[in-house]
């Protein structure tokens, strides 16, 4: 589904991604871990098409298309979804209205008819149940005055609505208490299928107790320095990031 080869990117004069290689197939969940500042959010931003980041080297193929040539909105329309670490507020625009706009723009891109009001409402109700979110939240201005948990839950709701092929969750666990974490993880798990894939970006092992990854990659100083299965996450938890740092230093 997603094939990243030697991806390098910088912001301003600062080189952040130093050559990333990553292969993700449908049905898989990949966790990307690493200490703060290692470039996890940068990778997510480059994949979703943020303009500030300049790709200096490498290729990204998404379902047979050159991802790096697509505008951010076209990437989304092709099926890439990012759950933001810090979702922004849009005053006066409800989540419902926001989703209606998004869904219809995506459908137009795919040559489908806009969803009529009844079908939209039906879809919304179904997804609300799936991610356990209350309609009152969806009627409010997007993210305005939302608690940390509400913001993240709302991101997962949007993900459910748009049914992406590849979801990138950036630190979706940060700022959540254990109950909120469980609800959010539950939602993500319910959306997993053989046809989609997920990248879970996280600093802590904790989230991976709930969203169990098939593969774990450790990102450090803009490179994937170690890959393994979910046991790697446990090992990291036990030994701390210093272990990785020392190992990299030794090479």
């Amino acid at each position: 589904m997603l094939s990243i080869k030697n991806l390098q990117a910088k912001i301003g004069e600062k080189q952040i991604l130093q050559g990333i290689d990553l292969q993700i197939n449908a049905g898989e969940v990949h966790a990307i871990m690493g200490p703060n500042g290692s470039g996890k959010s940068t990778l997510a931003s480059v994949l979703s098409g943020r303009e500030e980041y300049e790709v200096t080297e490498g290729e990204v193929d998404f379902l047979g298309k050159n991802l790096l040539e697509l505008s951010p909105e076209d990437r989304a329309r092709e099926g890439i979804f990012m759950a933001f670490q810090y979702p922004v507020e849009i005053p006066g625009v409800s989540t419902i209205n926001f989703m209606k706009t998004a869904l219809n723009q995506i459908r137009t891109y795919r040559g489908q008819q806009a969803l009529d009001a009844v079908s939209f409402l039906g879809l919304m109700k179904e997804k609300m149940k799936l991610v356990e979110i209350d309609q009152s939240l969806l009627n409010r201005s997007l993210n305005e005055g939302f608690s940390g948990g509400e913001k993240k839950r709302n991101e997962v709701f949007q993900m459910a609505m748009l049914e992406p092929k590849l979801s990138i969750l950036d630190e979706t666990d940060s700022g959540l208490d254990i109950d909120a974490l469980r609800i959010v993880a539950n939602g993500v798990n319910k959306l997993r299928s053989q046809n989609n894939a997920t990248i879970v970006v996280t600093h802590y092992q904790r989230l991976l107790d709930y969203i169990v990854p098939d593969f774990v990659h450790v990102l450090y100083k803009g490179r994937i320095v170690k890959s393994g299965t979910k046991e790697l996450a446990l090992e990291l938890e036990a030994k701390g990031y210093d272990w990785i740092k020392n190992e990299v230093a030794a090479v």
Partner: protein, 481 residues
């Protein structure tokens, strides 16, 4: 004396030398303005003597007045002698029904998303269409007259209801109120009149569409709405003009009058041609709108969505004379490219326990300048007056300007006044967030802007809110990136 004024003085002092014979067959007044122009217009409309006198009085006052220089707008001097003050559309006539309206006109309205035909079929909105200077179609008249509601063109009202016109014309906006009001009083050509009798709630939206069609003409229409005791009406006004390279002058006057317990809700979607990307052409929109809450517990509410015009100079105001009367002003003003807007409101509290609410949302893009100018005045007698003002500015890009000029003048210390103001920018983060959900940049801006203006748009009747949303998006097209 300003130079313009000198020129005018000269021209008008030798008016008869340059006077021309009145040609009643003409559909257009000759270019220029003098007492004969005023007489021509009045004669064209078969007006009674008193109205001609009223116009001439206004003209003579105007000649001595000067264009206001205090607004934060800049434009080359207007040559008032280079304007045609009266122009009837080619295919005019007294029309009995909408079906007789020139199909081209109907098409024009349909392009605006307003189908006169549809509106006739569906219940809902009664429309008076004013093209150039003449009212061409008023719909739903019969149905309204059953309730005693008068809704007709201004000229017709002068003929059919002279006593009402004589009583209320100029009662809210005196002829010498300001330069443009005086000009309008002298040369106004048509407009709408609306009268809601005691205790009647007008069952449908009343609406007027103004359009300037002919080149080199000015449009000077006059609207007068009177709501008797306990009456209610919601009134909509829409405006457009075609693209032209020269600037065209629009100087309208709107007067609202509410008796005890009456309410008038007046909404405007203004989309006069704003000029091109380089600031060429566009309408100069110098408009005086004022409402008098004469009776106790009466209410006047202005809602405006201002997207057009090269220059907007407009302050829909409320004079809160009746005790417990209430004034509201909800405004979205968008400027792009080289547009300039200086708009806001005046709330004059005279009666006791009067209250007013101001919500102003400015949006500036391109190289435009957007100013809010608002005055809240609490007079000595107005005990327990309240005002709440919210003035927000949204900037797109860094070449535009947003300015606020709030004036607060309190002569009674029981007044409670709250003023809030914010300035924000559309963030790249917000746009990216939308894009990441599959929404294009343009659609993202439209979404964010409509969200920002929501409190005002919500005040508009449903079908116009949708129209207004589209307009906002259109106005800002190409303003990002």
């Amino acid at each position: 004396m300003s130079k313009d004024n000198q020129v005018l003085e000269e021209l008008t002092s030798k008016e008869y030398e340059h006077g021309w014979t009145v040609n009643l067959e003409a559909d257009e007044a000759p270019r220029g303005l003098n007492e004969d122009t005023v007489r021509f217009i009045s004669a064209k409309k078969n007006e009674p003597e008193w109205l001609l006198e009223w116009r001439l009085k206004a003209f003579r006052m105007w000649v001595k007045m000067a264009e206001p220089k205090w607004p934060n707008v800049h434009y080359p001097p207007i040559d008032y002698q280079d304007i045609i003050y009266y122009s009837a559309p080619k295919k005019k006539a007294s029309l009995n029904s909408i079906d007789e309206v020139d199909p081209e006109l109907i098409k024009t309205f349909e392009k605006l998303g307003i189908s006169l035909g549809e509106q006739k079929r569906l219940t809902g909105i009664a429309v008076d269409a004013v093209i150039d200077s003449v009212s061409v179609a008023t719909t739903f008249k019969d149905k309204l007259s059953e309730l005693g509601i008068i809704f007709c063109s201004f000229s017709e009202a002068v003929k059919e209801h002279p006593e009402l016109i004589r009583k209320y014309l100029g009662s809210v906006v005196p002829i010498n109120d300001n330069y443009f009001a005086a000009l309008n009083s002298a040369v106004f050509s048509d407009g709408s009149f609306c009268y809601i009798p005691k205790g009647v709630r007008c069952p449908m939206e009343l609406s007027t569409y103004f359009r300037i069609n002919a080149a080199n003409t000015g449009q000077f229409e006059r609207t007068l709405i009177v709501a008797e005791e306990g009456a209610y009406v919601s009134y909509l006004e829409g405006c457009t003009a075609p693209m032209r390279d020269e600037n065209q002058l629009h100087a309208a006057v709107v007067e609202l009058y509410t008796m005890k317990d009456a309410e008038i809700k007046y909404s405007t979607v203004q989309n006069w041609y704003p000029g091109d990307k380089n600031g060429k052409g566009g309408i100069y929109n110098f408009v005086t709108k004022r409402g008098l809450c004469f009776g106790d517990h009466s209410k006047i509410s202005w809602t405006q969505v201002e997207t057009g015009s090269a220059i907007t100079w407009k302050y829909p105001s409320c004079v809160l004379k009746g005790d417990y009367s209430k004034g509201e002003f909800y405004s979205v003003a968008v400027t792009n490219n080289y547009q300039q807007a200086d708009t806001g409101t005046k709330m004059i509290h005279i009666g006791k326990n009067t209250s007013s609410r101001i919500v102003s949302k400015g949006i500036s893009a391109g190289k435009s300048q957007n100013s809010y100018r608002g005055q809240v005045q609490i007079m000595k007698r107005a005990s327990n007056a309240r005002n709440f003002s919210q003035c927000d500015s949204l900037l797109m890009g860094d070449q535009c300007g947003a300015h606020t000029f709030p004036y607060i003048d309190v002569e009674n210390n029981t007044a409670r006044i709250e003023h809030e103001a914010t300035t924000s920018k559309i963030g790249e983060d917000q746009i990216f967030y939308c894009q990441q959900r599959g929404i294009s940049e343009e659609a993202a801006v439209a979404l964010i802007v409509n969200g920002y203006a929501k409190e005002v748009l919500n005040q508009l009747p449903m079908e116009f809110a949708v129209e207004a949303q589209k307009l906002l998006a259109l106005t800002l097209e190409g303003s990002v990136g």
